[in-house]
Structures are given as C-alpha cells and as structure tokens.
C-alpha cells in the first residue's frame, strides 16, 4: 500500500486527535455535572450535609493515590517507548493497581455514607454527590480495564515501541480523569 494512507494533514495521529476531541466533549459532560453540584449546593432540605459527612483526610489519601497513578502512567509510557518490556509491565500494572486502590477508597466511602444515611434519594446533596463522583468513578473503572488490557497485551508480547501510541492515548485519558478528580476534590471536598 502507499504511504499516502497514513499521511495526515496536521502530522498528528488520527487517534490522538480524536482523543483530544473526546476529552473536549468530556469536559462539557463533567462541566455540566459539576455546575449542577454547585447550583444545588446548600439547597438540600434535609441532612446529612457535606460538612457532616465528608471525610477530607481520607479522601486526601485517595486523591494522592490517584495522583501517583498518573506518575506511574508516565513511567509506563516511557518504558513502552524505549521497548523495556519488564518495566512497562510493572508500571502498567502499578497504574491499574493505584486506580483500583482509588476505586476501593470510593467504594468504602460510598458504603460508609449509605450506613450514615446518605443515599441517592436522601437529598439534593446525595443525588448530586453520588452521580458526580459515581460518573468519575465509572471513568476510572474504564481506565483500569483499559490498563489491564494493555498489561495483558504486553504479556502477549504485543506491546512493542511501535504500539507506544496506544499507551500514549490511554495516558491522555488517564491524566484527564485524574485532572477531573482534582477539580471535583476541590469543589466538593475542599470548598464545602
């Protein structure tokens, strides 16, 4: 086949450009969710309120875990790019594990809140909090699945430096989900 098929007008890889567009779209999604949370802040007619129930120290730890996962992601990409199979597996698995740890914290937090009487139905805070952080959690879960898939591909020996773009795109998504969490953590936890 001719080389023309892979030529792009901007020089950017098609998939990478597509992912940037997807991330732009996701910004509006999370933007709408976060705006709704802010609009409804303090308007619940019954408790529990955020002040009563949010555990900032605990969530700070999980936030730190998620931040570290972004570091691991960067190292994974670097390892794949230089063709270092062992360390690409280590860092891919580490990223996924840190993501799962974050999800574990979230599962613990959600369970605790339900025990303390805050569910989706309880009040506006419950509805907006669970849907916002739940949507984010779902994004993390998709990312974890994706990372584990890459890990398996690496074990199969099918994640050489020629496939670094796949890891780079996963990284784009992962860092984006991380950045969204920073915003959510600030808006929901720190500013409450």
């Amino acid at each position: 086949m001719t080389a023309v098929a892979h030529h792009t007008s901007t020089g950017l890889d098609n998939r990478k450009l597509a992912f940037w567009m997807f991330i732009g779209s996701e910004c509006l999604l999370f933007g709408s969710l976060i705006s709704t949370y802010l609009v409804y802040q303090g308007r619940s007619v019954v408790g529990p309120t955020p002040e009563e129930i949010l555990d900032i120290p605990l969530t700070s730890i999980s936030t730190f875990v998620l931040l570290m996962s972004s570091l691991a992601m960067v190292l994974a990409l670097a390892a794949v790019t230089r063709g270092d199979r062992r360390w690409s597996r280590v860092w891919l698995l580490a990223t996924a594990a840190l993501g799962m740890t974050f999800l574990g914290f979230q599962a613990y937090e959600f369970t605790t809140f339900v025990h303390e009487g805050l569910t989706l139905k309880t009040n506006l805070f419950g509805s907006t909090f669970f849907v916002l952080t739940g949507t984010h959690g779902a994004h993390v879960a998709v990312g974890v699945l994706w990372l584990l898939t890459l890990f398996v591909r690496s074990l199969q020996g099918k994640l050489g430096p020629d496939k670094a773009i796949n890891v780079e795109i996963t990284g784009l998504y992962w860092h984006f989900v991380d950045v969204v969490w920073i915003v959510i953590f600030t808006v929901v936890y720190l500013l409450s």
Partner: protein
C-alpha cells in the same frame, strides 16, 4: 497490497448482499444507509404532522384523542430533529466530505458504521414505543416536571429519555470522527481556506455536536436517575429546581438549532455558486460567519426561557446576544444573493430549493429576531406564532437546503440524474404547500391559539386559517410523494450523470459517478479553492488506478456493539437488570473484538 472489495453485485446471494451492507465501512454506503433510514423517519414524522393537521383542520375535531395528540406532537418534533434532519445532514457528511477533501474514507470507518447502527437502532427503539402504546408525550423538550414519575407514570418518558441518550452516543461518535477526518485527512494542498463551504460548515457543526450533546446527556441522565433511582434533581419538594432542566436542555437546544441549519447553509453555499457560474461571494466572510454563529449560539439559550422571568439584566443580555446572532446570519444571506448577482443562473431543481431556502429562511429569521425582544416574546411564546417561526427555519431552511443537496449530489451518489421536470413539480408543491401550511400560523398564533393543545373552540374564529394550514400540509405531503416517485423513476430512467453533470467546482466532481470504492485512484494535489474551475487547479485523477489501491475490509463488530447498547436500553424499559447486563456484555465483547481485529485503514 491489493485487497478485494466486496461489491454488491446482483449475482451475489441476498444473504451476502445484506451482510455486505451490515458490515460495510465504506463512507459512501454508510451515507446511503443514513439517507434512506433518515428519509424513512422523515416520512413517519411527516405522517405524524398530517395527523396533527387533520385533527386541527376544524374546531372541536375528534380525529385523535388528547392523549394521542400529545404523543403525536412529541414524536413529530423528536423525530424531525433527531431522526430526520440531523441524520439527513449526516448522510451528506458521510457521502460528500471525504470526496470534497480528497480522502479515501473517513478517519475511523468502523466508528462511522457504529454511529449509523446506533442511530438506526435508537430510532427504531424510540418508535417502538408506539407499538406498546407508550409513545413519549411531554413535548420534544420534555420539560420537568411533566416528565417526573409522579406526573408521567408508564413508559412514555422512559422511551424518550433512553432513546435520546442512545442517539447522543451516535452523534458524538460521528462528530469526533468527522472533525478528525476534516482536520487530518485533507489531500495535499487542500488548505483549510480552500475547503468547500459545505465541508467548512460541517466542521463547525461537528464542533457544536461534540460540545452540546454532553450537556443534554447530563440532563437526561439526571432525569433517568430521577425516574429509575429516585434522585431529586427535578424534585421541587426536595429543593430541586425544574429550571435546571430548562437551562441544561436549552444550553444544548439552541446550539442544536445551528446543528440543524449550518449543514443546510453549507449545502446551498456549494449549490448557488455552481448554478450561478460564479465563485461564492466573500468566501472567507461566509466561513467566519459560520464560526461566529457557532460561538454566539452558545450564548443565547435563555431566550427560550423569557417566560420564566429571569430578571431584567439576564433578559437584556440574552436579548442582545440573540439580536447579535442575526448579524452573521444576515451576512451569509447577502453573500448568497451577491453570488447570484450578475451570475449566469441556471434554475435547476437544486438551485430552486437553494433559492427557496434563502426566501423561507429570511421569513423565519425575521420572526426569530422578533422573539429576541422579551416583551414581544411573552406575547408570542407557546403560541402558533413560534410554531410558524421554527417551521420556516427548520422546514423552509434546513429541509429545503437538504433537498437542494439531494438534487445536487444525487447523480454523484447513484450515477443517474433525478428528473428535472418531476423535481420542479416537487419544488413548487413544497414551497406553495409549506407557505400555505406555515404562514397562517403567524396569524393563528397572534390571535391567541396556544401550541400543544389538541383542539380549539369555534368561538376563537380560527377555523378557516387552520383549514388553510391543513390544506397546505397535505400539498406538502403530495410534494413528498412526487419526490419519492422521482427517486423510483430515476433508478431506471434517470439519465446517466457522467463525472460532472452540473459543471461543479469541487473535487467530488472530478471522479466518476458513483465513485469507485477507493474514491480517488490517485490522491490529487489541490492548488485552488475551485480546483475544477481553475487552470491547473489540481493534479489529474486517472480513471484507472495506476497501482492497486488498498480498500479497508468490512467489519461486523460496530453493528454488534450498537446492538449491545440497544439491548441494554430495552432492558431498562423492561426493568430487567439481567437484560441490561447482557447488553453490556455484548457491547464489551464487540469492543474487544473490534479493537483486536486486524483492520488496516
């Protein structure tokens, strides 16, 4: 490396032909699928409109019950916006954009197929609601709290909230795909400011789609959670605010208006120069006006909400932005007229529809500017005046533009021309019928008839005007039958088109009709904004490829992934977690198979 192409030759068995359509990743065939499907939905939406007009043909009529009437106007609006005009535009995006920019396909052929199948199944899902007697019934903008479980028990709203979420997936996927295609897949020398205006307006539209659809998705997710899991987003008793829905809906809803109209504006920006034999007047200004409309379109949503009482400051701001958006729109209209000025105009059917667009859109635009003034809007809102306005822009504008595009590109798609004689009959029935149907609505509205009410009292004195409107609707309906006849006629009797039946200026006219699977035997180098009108405007495209061309194979996984999504939606209607999870499992399997199958673009 040569890859054999599965052609739908008559010798192939029916099963093989159906399979080749299900698995196709060719943008041209997907474009045809979009066009045929969307036109079928357009006819269904048209039938709903005729039933509505029949019911309103005289006061106190009893053709349909109040409940059925609610379903008809809801589904008419939802169908025309999401299942007819948007996907008809998508048919053009698919078929025309790669040809206009000199590409062999879109950036992601399988994602393209996925968008189509999600759209088809989502549209069938929405319409299946009729079969179980639970069609959506709260208006196309589904205001809270009409849509809450308390005020709308049963499955009517469930179909709507799930169906629109599904359709949103198709739109966003296609939006991303076409942005990448246009930005990244242009032939050498096809600089941004050399792109045909249709491609330009399509690009602008895709940016609006990928930014506006997440907003309605969030609004719909809230509604779905309220209905399924008892959340409080639109529950006033819990402190929720029904205005949240209105803001989110119209934040999407007004950009959506430009999603509907900008592609049609792009179409006529290509049609008018071709049939005036003149380059588009002020190309750059038309392009920048399109961009400006997209930007301003994000700042006008609350003019749909003046009756809420947002306060004088907010209302003044939104009135001003709304008036402002008339400026780039007006600029475009003057550019089209200036293009025709002094041109050698040929009034083909495509040109007639394009000129019809301008005339009708001016009327709809003027009544739109009237609404921008809050005091005037308060008199007009929720009356037939508004119905008149948006039918002038959406039928008179968007649909007329789409018909211009159909007559213009039909020969490129099928290799045969539509009949000009039958086409002109179609045009005159359409323009006379639509003015008969929609113009009286201005008076009906100003005289006080509200929208979305299934009947009216004889004492209002509106029987005659309503009858005229109904007659007009049936004249339009006749026009559509004439068009369908034209299509059938053209299949066997249409004149062979040749490469360039109109003397067009853009790349798609440099190749055969219908184009070969690979579009361009050699990717041309473009040296002009109007390559076919300029001396040495492009490198030649030989009729036979000098070396074998790689054509991507088909794939079944996009259709399967779409099926998984729709199974999950059906599961949500059935309130069966098992079916939802089953659909999710199918989706996941299809995504992995899709990602792992060898597929060289």
């Amino acid at each position: 490396m040569a890859t054999s192409v599965m052609e739908h030759t008559p010798s192939a068995g029916l099963g093989a032909r159906v399979w080749s359509w299900i698995t196709t990743t060719d943008h041209k065939r997907i474009g045809v699928l979009y066009g045929v499907t969307a036109f079928a939905f357009f006819l269904i939406g048209g039938l709903e409109a005729l039933l509505i007009r029949l019911q309103l043909s005289h006061s106190g009529n009893t053709v349909v019950s109040a409940q059925t009437y609610n379903e008809l106007f809801t589904m008419h609006g939802t169908t025309m916006v999401f299942l007819a005009v948007m996907p008809l535009s998508a048919a053009f995006f698919n078929f025309v954009i790669p040809l206009q920019i000199g590409a062999r396909d879109v950036a992601f052929p399988r994602l393209n197929a996925f968008s189509y199948w999600v759209f088809l199944l989502g549209g069938l899902f929405l319409n299946a609601s009729f079969l179980v007697g639970a069609a959506p019934n709260a208006g196309w903008f589904g205001y809270a709290n009409l849509t809450s479980s308390q005020y709308s028990p049963g499955h009517h709203i469930d179909f709507w909230v799930l169906g629109l979420q599904v359709l949103g997936i198709a739109s966003i996927a296609a939006g991303i795909n076409f942005i990448v295609t246009i930005v990244n897949m242009r032939a050498p020398g096809m600089r941004l400011m050399r792109m045909p205006v249709f491609t330009w307006m399509s690009l602008v539209t895709q940016f609006i789609i990928v930014t506006a659809f997440p907003v309605i998705t969030v609004a719909l997710v809230f509604l779905m959670f309220d209905r399924y899991f008892g959340t409080n987003f639109y529950q006033v008793a819990a402190g929720g605010d029904v205005l949240l829905w209105q803001h989110l809906f119209w934040l999407f809803g007004h950009p959506e208006v430009y999603i509907l109209i900008l592609p049609a504006m792009g179409i006529i920006s290509d049609v008018i120069p071709t049939f005036s034999r003149k380059p588009l007047f002020g190309y750059a200004v038309v392009v920048y006006s399109g961009l400006l409309i997209a930007v301003l379109g994000w700042g006008v949503w609350a003019h749909h909400m003046f009756q809420v009482g947002l306060g004088p400051i907010a209302e003044s701001v939104f009135a001003a932005t709304t008036m402002m958006i008339a400026i780039p729109t007006g600029v475009k209209i003057f550019n089209w007229i200036a293009t025709m000025w002094g041109g050698r105009i040929r009034f083909t059917t495509a040109m007639l529809f394009a000129v019809g667009f301008i005339a009708m859109f001016i009327i709809g635009g003027l009544s739109g500017v009237m609404h921008s003034s809050p005091p005037a809007d308060l008199q007009q809102t929720d009356t037939y005046f508004v119905v008149a306005h948006f039918h002038y822009v959406l039928f008179g504008g968007a649909m007329m533009g789409i018909f211009a595009g159909i007559y213009y590109w039909w020969p490129k798609v099928t290799g045969r021309l539509l009949s000009e004689g039958i086409g002109k009959t179609h045009f005159w029935l359409t323009i006379i019928g639509s003015n008969l149907a929609f113009f009286p609505m201005h008076f009906i509205g100003l005289l006080g008839m509200p929208r979305r009410i299934y009947t009216y009292d004889a004492a209002l004195g509106l029987d005659t005007l309503n009858l005229v409107s109904t007659v007009g609707a049936f004249v339009m309906g006749t026009g559509m039958l004439v068009f369908v006849f034209n299509v059938l006629w053209s299949r066997t009797r249409g004149q062979p088109a040749g490469n360039d039946p109109w003397g067009g200026a853009t790349l798609e006219w440099s190749i055969s009709s219908p184009p070969p699977a690979y579009n361009f035997s050699v990717i041309p180098e473009v040296r002009s904004r109007m390559p076919l009108w300029s001396e040495n405007g492009m490198t030649p495209v030989p009729a036979v490829p000098p070396e074998p061309v790689h054509v991507p194979p088909g794939s079944f996984w996009p259709a399967l992934a779409a099926t998984g999504i729709i199974v999950a939606a059906v599961g949500a209607i059935l309130k069966s977690l098992l079916v939802v999870l089953g659909g999710g499992a199918v989706l996941i399997v299809a995504i992995y198979a899709w990602a792992l199958e060898p597929f060289e673009v």
